[in-house]
């Protein structure tokens, strides 16, 4: 992480507030957002603290406007972010596609709630596809980081701004309503600990003798548009090589490996303990970067483990990436709860027992 240990400040905070405070400490210069539960605390916190600490905070008339304000501010060279939840993130897809194409850095936070439609304000992981597969039109990706604690809500803000600047791309923190609302102890990095970099492409006014700067996502000639696409794809390959993040827990001797991200991973940790107490050799693989997805680690896991059990708070989205990564070498099972329901550790334990039993019957 960016901060040096020992200089952090320890506080008890809600996930959304920790994220907002971390953003200010990471040098946030402008925030544009629109209220929606369960992320409104981000906007509310920044509305209180940004004016005092020097920075722009603006409640836009819609998420559509907010993301385009982010576009303008990012194009003008500012460290900028927005946050929302399902319905609002859907409205932002147009702007995210434009920013991916124009190669503008920014942070977008999705504090997920249950969908589809207006859905529910309870936590969910139903936006995995939207976040990792593009979401808007055209061939693009965002870097997507999935925190599973209030601490990571704060840490990943620093990480996201760093990655956004490094790769000139929108970065998403894919959180959920529970992580946003829960209170935990958090160590906050000191203010100003994330350096600013030169942005020689930003539109700040044409200097005499220099060429004007243009931020655009329009490339009318197909040859030129393909060039842009090739450049983006090269960038994505580099990101896939360099920025994979995951956490492996007790996978060395595991016969069954749980795979879960974010809140579901926390619950799986508890289920893992329960299962180990019962003598099941269970491990947990927690993808932290959802894009780039930690595909490679599954190849090595598949040599030792006998099966995988993917646990998500959706109808089965990340499980598709796991199956692609496992390449049919081992069975991949799925356990999901939807619509804002959270699986309990006991529920996962009994699913572990069921899949082990079924696999034994089958073989």
């Amino acid at each position: 992480m960016e901060h040096t240990p020992g200089t952090s400040e320890i506080r008890l905070m809600k996930g959304n507030e920790a994220l907002a405070e971390a953003a200010i400490r990471a040098g946030l210069q402008a925030y544009f957002g629109y209220p929606i539960t369960p992320q409104s605390e981000v906007l509310e916190y920044l509305a209180v603290h940004m004016p005092k600490r020097g920075g722009v905070v603006l409640q836009a008339e819609s998420e559509l406007a907010a993301i385009n304000m982010v576009f303008g501010a990012a194009g003008a060279g500012a460290r900028v972010m927005t946050s929302s939840s399902g319905p609002g993130i859907s409205l932002m897809q147009e702007g995210i596609s434009y920013m991916a194409s124009a190669e503008l850095p920014c942070l977008i936070v999705n504090v997920q709630r249950g969908g589809p439609g207006l859905g529910t304000i309870q936590p969910s992981q139903g936006d995995y596809f939207q976040a990792t597969k593009g979401g808007g039109h055209g061939d693009y990706h965002m870097i997507v980081l999935a925190p599973s604690s209030v601490q990571e809500m704060a840490d990943f803000v620093f990480e996201s701004f760093r990655l956004a600047d490094k790769y000139l791309t929108p970065v998403m923190i894919l959180s959920d309503g529970a992580l946003g609302q829960m209170m935990e102890k958090v160590a906050l990095p000191p203010e100003g600990s994330l350096p600013f970099i030169e942005k020689p492409w930003a539109t700040t006014g044409k200097k005499p003798g220099q060429k004007r700067r243009i931020i655009t996502s329009l490339f009318m000639q197909p040859e030129e548009m393909e060039e842009v696409n090739l450049r983006l794809q090269t960038k994505y390959r580099l990101i896939e090589k360099q920025e994979v993040r995951y956490e492996a827990l007790e996978t060395d001797d595991a016969e069954i490996v749980l795979v879960a991200f974010g809140l579901a991973a926390r619950i799986c940790e508890k289920a893992l303990t329960l299962a180990r107490e019962k003598g099941f050799k269970v491990g947990l693989l927690r993808p932290i970067s959802l894009y780039p997805f930690p595909s490679k680690v599954f190849a090595s896991l598949a040599t030792n483990a006998e099966m995988f059990l993917v646990v998500e708070m959706n109808a089965g989205q990340m499980v598709e990436d796991v199956k692609l990564a496992v390449e049919g070498k081992r069975p991949v099972h799925f356990k999901g709860r939807m619509g804002g329901m959270i699986p309990s550790p006991e529920e996962i334990l009994s699913e572990i027992e069921t899949v082990i039993e079924n696999e034994q019957v089958n073989t």
Binding site: F71, G72, P208
Partner: protein
């Protein structure tokens, strides 16, 4: 060092300002877009603010405005130019920021952004080219299309009962306290061009006051979309567009500030 131009003894009375690039414009013959580009850039040149000016191009025929205007520019999504401009101006408050938008862009898909940008009184200049059609996509009906006017999507003439009325968005935003200076101009004859230039100059100067949004509508033509010659289109505009969209100031700062 810049060499003086070769004039063969003649006096230069008309030249391209440095704020316009050498790229040939793609606009149809007789189209108003090019004239408005030039007027804008002449003012930026005369005010010597090229290094402090950032423009936002729309989606419409003027999507490539950044190829012609020699200032830093961003290309916004369709209708979102004023939101993009808000983002720029908020983080660079001492720059001159303007948007350049058509009627489809500003008064249909971008209506929400337009109204709220002006309502916040963002200290930017909005230039609004009202040609009564969607030029770029081939002459479809716009919110500003006149009643009875035939377009490719109102082939029997615009009917209020099904397509609503021509939207006078300029009158609408005039009501907003965030609007500092609102005027409606044209570029169909030299005097009109001169008046527009005065308005643009004022609007850029007002930006320094930080007292609200400046909004200039230019009632313009679209000879291609209207299926007319440039001359016919100007005549048609005078006879049909001007009565609906009368030229002149709708709001000037003294009214706002007292």
């Amino acid at each position: 060092m810049k060499l003086p131009p070769i004039t063969n003894g003649f006096e230069i009375v008309y030249k391209k300002p440095d704020t316009l690039t050498d790229t040939p414009m793609h606009y149809c013959p007789g189209c108003g877009h090019g004239v408005v580009h030039r007027v804008l850039m002449e003012v930026v040149d005369e005010m010597k603010i090229q290094d402090k000016t950032i423009g936002v191009a729309p989606v419409g025929c003027s999507v490539f405005a950044y190829n012609y205007m020699n200032v830093d520019m961003q290309e916004a999504a369709h209708g979102r130019a004023t939101a993009v401009a808000t983002g720029i101006k908020r983080v660079l408050p001492d720059r001159f920021v303007f948007t350049y938008q058509g009627d489809g862009d500003l008064a249909a898909i971008g209506t929400g952004e337009t109204v709220h940008t002006v309502n916040r009184g963002e200290n930017i200049l909005i230039v609004f080219i009202n040609n009564g059609v969607y030029g770029m996509t081939g002459g479809q009906m716009a919110p500003t299309t006149l009643l009875g006017m035939k377009t490719t999507t109102s082939p029997y003439g615009r009917e209020a009962a099904s397509a609503g009325f021509p939207l006078k968005i300029t009158n609408l935003i005039t009501q907003l306290p965030g609007a500092l200076y609102v005027t409606r101009q044209a570029v169909h004859e030299p005097n009109a061009v001169r008046r527009l230039k005065k308005a643009v100059r004022l609007a850029f100067e007002y930006q320094l006051l930080k007292k609200g949004t400046c909004f200039i509508e230019v009632v313009s033509n679209c000879p291609s979309g209207w299926k007319m010659t440039p001359q016919e289109s100007n005549k048609w505009m005078e006879e049909n567009m001007f009565p609906m969209y009368p030229l002149g100031d709708l709001k000037v700062p003294s009214q706002t500030m007292n």
